[in-house]
C-alpha cells in the first residue's frame, strides 16, 4: 500500500523489536517475484498495427504493481511485529484515497481499495485477537459459524429475495440492461440448482451438464423450425427430450465412479456439441439456427405491435401503451418461475425418500447399497431430473436469444455452472445464488475493467477455494428432527 516506511517507524517509536532489515528484505523479495510475474503478464501488450501484430511495453503498470506489492508485503510484515494499529490506519487511508480521489485507471483504484481493505482487515484481526493470522482450523470454524448463521437466516432472506426479485421489473430502475442481467443471473441460478441435484445431492461429478442445456435449446429451436410448434408446447417436450438424453447417457456410465465418471460426462458434453456442429443439414452446423420464435403470452397474446392472425396484442389485451420492454419483463418472470420450480423441487425432494437416497449415495455408495438402495435407479433418476431442468433452461435460452449455435454450449459453460455449485457449497441452495452473483454478477458489474475482469474472476476463485475448500455455505441441516413438527415418513418409495 502507499505507506512510506518512515511514517510507520515514526508512528511506533516505542517498539524496538522491529526487524527492519529482515522486513525490508522480505518485502523486496516479494516485489522481485511480482516483477518476474508482471513483466510478461502486465508489462507487455499485443496491439493490432496495420503492419501486423506489434508489442507495446507498459512500464507504468509494472512499476505501480511492484510498488504496491512491496508496500503490501511490508504492511503484512509490520502487522506481525506489533505495528498493527498504524498499518490499519494507513491501509484504511489508502483504501479511502483509492475510493475518493481520481485515479488514472480503474484497475489502480480497484487494487488500492481491495488491497487496502484486505490489509486493514488483517490488521484489525491482529488488534482484536493478538495474532496476525488465524490457523486453518480456527478460520474454518469461524466461517462455518457464519455459514450456519446464513443458512438459518435463509428462512428470512429467501422470501425477501424472492419478493425483491418479483417486484424488480415494476420498479423504476428496471431498464433493459438491468433486466437482461437479471435474466442472465436467473438462468445461471436455475442451471446451478439443476446441476446441484446431480453434484450436490447425488454426489456425481457431472462435467457435461451443458449437453442437456444444448439438447433443450436445440429441441425447441428444431421443433419450432420444422413443425412450427409454439414455445408452450415445446417446453415440456424439450424437458422430456433432455431427460431422455440424460437416461441414455446414464445407462452406460453409471457403473463408473469418481474420476472416470467425470471424464465420460465430459466426453458426452463434447459429443453433443460436435454432433450439433457437424450435422449440417439438420442443425445448421456452426451457423446455428436463427429466427427462433419468441414466446407468446401463454398462447393468448403476442408481444409485437401488430400480432399475427388469431393472436391478440399483449398491450391491447391489457390496455397498456406498447413497449418493447413488456416481452423482456415477461421473459424475466418466466425464468424466475422456472428457477423457483427447480428450487422448490430440490427443497421438497430432500425430505422425501428419493432425495435421502441421493444424499446417502453421495455419502457412501457401498453403505447405501447395503441398506437396500437401488443405486442404478437412483442415479438415473438424478440424472434424468437434472437433465430435464437443464432442458427447460435450454429452451428458455433459445427463445430469449432467438438464435443459437453450438458455440453457446462449449465446455466452459459446464465449467462455470459446476464452479457455481462447488463455490456455493455442494448441496446448498442459497450457496448457488451467492456463487452466481459472484461468478456471473461480478464480471458483469466490472465490465468496465475490460481485460482485467477475468483476472479478478480467477483470483476470486482461487481465494474462495483456499479459504473455503468445501464451498462458501457448505453447511448441511438435518432434514428430520426428533419430535419436530414433521413426522418422518417411512421410506418405502425409494425402491
Amino acid at each position: 500500500m502507499t505507506m512510506p516506511s518512515h511514517t510507520a517507524s515514526a508512528a511506533a517509536p516505542t517498539n524496538r523489536a522491529v526487524d527492519w532489515p529482515g522486513t525490508l528484505r522480505d518485502a523486496g523479495l516479494a516485489a522481485f517475484v511480482a516483477l518476474l510475474l508482471t513483466l510478461p503478464l502486465v508489462g507487455l501488450r499485443t496491439i493490432d498495427r496495420p503492419t501486423g501484430l506489434g508489442i507495446e511495453a507498459r512500464p507504468d503498470e509494472v512499476i505501480a504493481s511492484i510498488v504496491l506489492v512491496f508496500l503490501g508485503r511490508l504492511g503484512l510484515g509490520l502487522i506481525r511485529q506489533n505495528l498493527a494499529l498504524p498499518v490499519l490506519v494507513l491501509a484504511l487511508a489508502c483504501a479511502g484515497v483509492g475510493l475518493v480521489l481520481p485515479m488514472p485507471t480503474q484497475v489502480l483504484r480497484l487494487v488500492l481499495v481491495a488491497g487496502g481493505g484486505i490489509i486493514a482487515l488483517r490488521a484489525a484481526i491482529t488488534l482484536t485477537t493478538g495474532r496476525s493470522k488465524l490457523s486453518q482450523a480456527e478460520r474454518d470454524r469461524r466461517m462455518d459459524r457464519v455459514a450456519v448463521q446464513v443458512q438459518h437466516a435463509t428462512k428470512y432472506i429467501a422470501p425477501v429475495a424472492i419478493i425483491g426479485a418479483a417486484i424488480l421489473p415494476l420498479t423504476p430502475i428496471a431498464d433493459r440492461q438491468i433486466l437482461d442481467i437479471g435474466i442472465l443471473l436467473l438462468t445461471y441460478i436455475m442451471l446451478g440448482w439443476g446441476l446441484n441435484i446431480v453434484v450436490g445431492l447425488a454426489g456425481l461429478l457431472d462435467l457435461g451438464y451443458v449437453a442437456f442445456y444444448a439438447v433443450g435449446a436445440y429441441s425447441y429451436a428444431l421443433l419450432a423450425h420444422y413443425f412450427g410448434l409454439s414455445f408452450w408446447v415445446c417446453l415440456p417436450l424439450a424437458g422430456m427430450l433432455a431427460a431422455l438424453s440424460g437416461v441414455l447417457l446414464g445407462f452406460p456410465v453409471l457403473r463408473l465412479r469418481g474420476d472416470y465418471f467425470a471424464i465420460v460426462t465430459l466426453g458426452f458434453g463434447e459429443i453433443i456439441r460436435i454432433i450439433l456442429v457437424n450435422w449440417y443439414q439438420f442443425t445448421g452446423g456452426p451457423n446455428g439456427i436463427s429466427g427462433i420464435p419468441r414466446p407468446s403470452f401463454f398462447g393468448i397474446a403476442d408481444f409485437t405491435r401488430t400480432p399475427t392472425e388469431g393472436m391478440a396484442a399483449f398491450h391491447e389485451l391489457f390496455g397498456l401503451e406498447f413497449s418493447s420492454l413488456h416481452r423482456i419483463v415477461f421473459m424475466y418472470y418466466l425464468i424466475l418461475a422456472l428457477a423457483l420450480v427447480v428450487n422448490l423441487f430440490t427443497l421438497r425432494v430432500r425430505k422425501l425418500p428419493l432425495g435421502r437416497a441421493w444424499e446417502a449415495l453421495r455419502e457412501d455408495e457401498i453403505a447405501s447399497a447395503s441398506l437396500g438402495i437401488n443405486r442404478t435407479n437412483m442415479k438415473l433418476a438424478a440424472f434424468a431430473i437434472a437433465a430435464m431442468f437443464g432442458g427447460f433452461a435450454g429452451s428458455f435460452f433459445a427463445t430469449r436469444q432467438g438464435f443459437i449455435s453450438p458455440e453457446s454450449f462449449t465446455f466452459i459453460e459446464s465449467a462455470i455452472i459446476l464452479a457455481i455449485v462447488v463455490l456455493g457449497g455442494m448441496g446448498s441452495q442459497i450457496g448457488v445464488v451467492v456463487a452466481t452473483l459472484l461468478v456471473i454478477g461480478l464480471p458483469e458489474a466490472f465490465r468496465e475493467l475490460a481485460d482485467y475482469r477475468m483476472l479478478a474472476f480467477g483470483m476470486g476463485m482461487v481465494v474462495i477455494m483456499l479459504w473455503r475448500p468445501r464451498g462458501l455455505l457448505a453447511h448441511r441441516d438435518p432434514t428430520i428432527l426428533l419430535h419436530g413438527g414433521r413426522k418422518p415418513q417411512s421410506a418405502g418409495a425409494a425402491r
Partner: protein, 236 residues
C-alpha cells in the same frame, strides 16, 4: 435359514474364497473367526452379492439369492453392518437411522426407532449430532442400529469390535446377545476377537486362507487346543 455351498469368490485372478460351505440356523448366533486376510469379510460381502460368487450357491430361506443385486438381497431380510462401519458422516444420527429403514415395512419407523434407541441409549443422547463427529464405539452402535432399522431376519456384522476399547467391546457384545435373545434375531458375525465372538456364539467356524478349516459349537472351539494356540493365547 442361510445355506452357503461351494462358494468361490475371486478378486480378478485371485481366489479369495476357495469353496465355502456353511449353514446358519434360525435364531442362532454364528461366529466366523480367522486371521487377517483369511477371507472373512469377503464371505460376508459375497452373501450380499458384491463381489458376486463365481461358483457355488447362497440359499436364503429356500430362495437362491446368489445372483440377486445387493439391494434385492437386502430386501429379502438380510441387513449388514459393513466393515469399517460406513455410517454417513455428514448426516445426523437420526438421519442415519432413517436411511436404515428404507426397506422396512412402511409405518414401522417409529417403533423400530424406539427399539434401537432403547438398545443404544447413547444414540438417543446424540440423536441430532453429526454422525462423523462421534467416537468409534458410538459409530459402531450406529452402524448396528442402522442395520436393525430395516427389520432384518438375518443380521450380518463385520468386525463389530474393531478398534474399540475393551469396555465398549463388552457393551456391544451384550447388545448383540440381547438382540438375539429378545428379538430372536439370527446373527452371523465375522470377528478377529475370537474369545468374545466364540463365547457369545452358539456355533463357530474357523477360516484359514479362504477355506473353512474347523467348525463346532462356540464352547468346543474355545476349548480346542489348535484354536487356542492360533487365535486366543497371547492375544488377550
Amino acid at each position: 435359514m442361510l445355506k452357503v455351498s461351494g462358494v468361490h469368490t475371486f478378486y480378478g485372478a485371485i481366489e479369495a474364497l476357495k469353496g465355502i460351505d456353511l449353514e446358519i440356523g434360525s435364531g442362532e448366533i454364528v461366529s466366523l473367526i480367522g486371521a487377517n486376510g483369511a477371507g472373512k469379510s469377503t464371505l460376508l460381502m459375497t452373501l450380499c452379492g458384491s463381489p458376486r460368487a463365481r461358483q457355488g450357491r447362497v440359499i436364503f430361506e429356500g430362495e437362491d439369492i446368489t445372483d440377486l443385486p445387493t439391494h434385492e438381497i437386502v430386501r429379502r431380510g438380510i441387513a449388514q453392518s459393513p466393515e469399517g462401519r460406513r455410517i454417513f458422516p455428514r448426516m445426523s444420527v437420526l438421519e442415519n437411522l432413517q436411511m436404515g429403514s428404507i426397506v422396512a415395512k412402511p409405518g414401522s419407523f417409529e417403533t423400530e426407532l424406539e427399539r434401537v434407541l432403547t438398545l443404544f441409549p447413547r444414540l438417543k443422547e446424540r440423536i441430532h449430532q453429526r454422525a462423523g463427529t462421534m467416537s468409534g464405539g458410538e459409530q459402531q452402535m450406529l452402524a448396528i442400529g442402522r442395520a436393525l432399522m430395516s427389520q432384518p431376519r438375518l443380521l450380518l456384522l463385520d468386525e463389530p469390535s474393531l478398534g474399540l476399547a475393551p469396555l465398549i467391546v463388552k457393551q456391544i457384545f451384550q447388545v448383540i446377545k440381547a438382540i438375539n435373545e429378545e428379538q430372536k434375531m439370527t446373527v452371523f458375525m465375522v470377528e478377529q476377537n475370537a474369545f468374545h465372538a466364540l463365547k457369545l456364539a452358539h456355533r463357530g467356524y474357523v477360516m484359514v486362507n479362504g477355506r473353512i478349516t474347523m467348525t463346532g459349537s462356540g464352547a468346543q472351539l474355545l476349548a480346542d487346543p489348535e484354536v487356542r494356540a492360533a487365535y486366543l493365547e497371547g492375544g488377550h
